[in-house]
């Protein structure tokens, strides 16, 4: 457990040295959302109607941008090889990196999302649900994204390939996340959606460390 926390600490330290990365992801999130009023027109009713979807899609894209570098820098300078040899299982190291990724990407998005929702004129009835589903859903994005990030290590055209691989896998999270917020806005029951989001989180928690570690080991051979 100590070693696990230690790796997280190391990752956070590295992340804080590059605060710019975290801020850039946040800036992209905000910018992407801001594009929509320009694209679909500023009419408040329309924006309110599609606000949950816009916020989720922007969150997906922002999470994806930061995933490419999850293992890349360690892979390039050789630290990934050393980490793989450490007594701590590679699966735990992957989890530590995912936790850090969520703390530096998912968490800022969750904080910024209500602000963006207000700007999109979303009804405040949905605000609590928006935060809840982002809390349930963004960890899944980090977990699934880590699989993709591990798979593309050493490949050509890594970044674009990553999007092609991960976005289809993100789709269930997107579907249920938006559905839950729409449900809350319309006074419908959202328990099924929340249960499925939680289930998806648990499933990706189980799948991600195995798949990512396997992919990392392959890349180091």
């Amino acid at each position: 457990m100590n070693a696990f926390v230690h790796v997280i600490r190391r990752e956070l330290n590295l992340a804080f040295r590059q605060q710019l990365d975290s801020l850039m992801v946040l800036a992209f999130f905000v910018l992407a959302i801001v594009l929509f009023p320009f694209g679909v027109g500023p009419e408040p009713n329309i924006l309110a109607r599609i606000a949950p979807g816009i916020i989720w899609v922007a969150a997906l894209l922002a999470a994806m941008l930061s995933l490419e570098r999850l293992f890349q820098t360690d892979y390039e300078d050789g630290s990934l090889e050393l980490l793989a040899l450490s007594p701590l299982p590679l699966e735990m190291i992957v989890l530590a990196k995912v936790v850090t990724h969520w703390l530096t990407t998912g968490l800022p998005l969750i904080v910024a999302a209500p602000v963006m929702a207000v700007m999109l004129n979303m009804n405040t009835d949905g605000m609590a649900m928006l935060i809840l589903v982002l809390v349930l859903g963004t960890p899944s994005l980090s977990l699934i994204g880590a699989i993709g990030a591990a798979l593309i290590l050493g490949s050509r055209r890594g970044g674009v390939l990553l999007s092609l691989l991960i976005l289809p896998l993100f789709i269930p999270v997107l579907i249920f996340g938006v559905s839950a917020i729409d449900g809350a806005l319309n006074g419908l029951t959202v328990k099924p959606q929340l249960l499925i989001l939680s289930g998806f989180f648990l499933a990706s928690l189980a799948l991600c460390p195995w798949a990512s570690a396997a992919a990392i080991r392959q890349s180091l051979e």
């Binding site: 699989i147 798979l151 593309i152 050493g154 490949s155 050509r156 055209r157 390939l161 092609l164 691989l165 976005l167 289809p168 896998l169 789709i171 269930p172 579907i175 249920f176 559905s179 099924p192 959606q193 499925i196 998806f200 499933a203 799948l207 798949a211 396997a214 992919a215 392959q218 890349s219 051979e221």
Partner: protein, 244 residues
Amino acid sequence: MMFHKFANPTRFLRLSTTLTPWFAALTVTMLAAGLYLGLFNAPPDYQQGESVRIMYVHVPAAWMAMFAYSMMAAMSAAALIWKHPVATLVAKSSAPIGACFTFLALVTGSLWGKPMWGTWWVWDARLTSVLVLFFLYLGYIALHNAFDDARRGGQAASILAIVGFVNVPIIKFSVDWWNTLHQPASVVRMDGPTIDSSMLAPLLLMAGAYTFYFFWVLMVRVRSELIAQKVRVLQMKQAQQDMT
């Protein structure tokens, strides 16, 4: 176990030489029979008229799209678990064929949907999950070819195939929450098919033809991959000889 017997590439090559003509013959005969019955013999539908005949190319394509992906995922698992050398090649060869079937399922589905539902596309359960399946195929093919080392590409793609396989029922199930415009199952059901036998016969014949076509092209492609492997080995040997 027979499966492991064919881990030997040479044995597989011999087997493919024997089987390929059979697959080809079965494909052509079943295709001819299916098309004849489907286009000439089977009756038009009470509501849909002649447009129902699109079913004879749409449904087999959709079935094969799923079948090919299952084959791809199973072979990928075999490759990772037992390091079966031919399994990765079978998975790699299944992907483009599966992608073709998925594409055909989507396009023929659109062509059928327009006269039947009045729209080229709708975001319901079945259509959306098939579209995502198409992207999973493309991702698999892209990942397989994204590495200079072919072996590494195969390994990475194997992991992706398995992860994607978990995702497919999730997507299909998750999108069921939306209204579904696509018709529910009428062939593979617990009570048996509800479809009339004059339509069932050409449908099953076309499905059989598509299946044997899949194995036909699969054999051809796996042979090519095995031969390409031999070529690479020889080229490396020659390069070493040239250097000494």
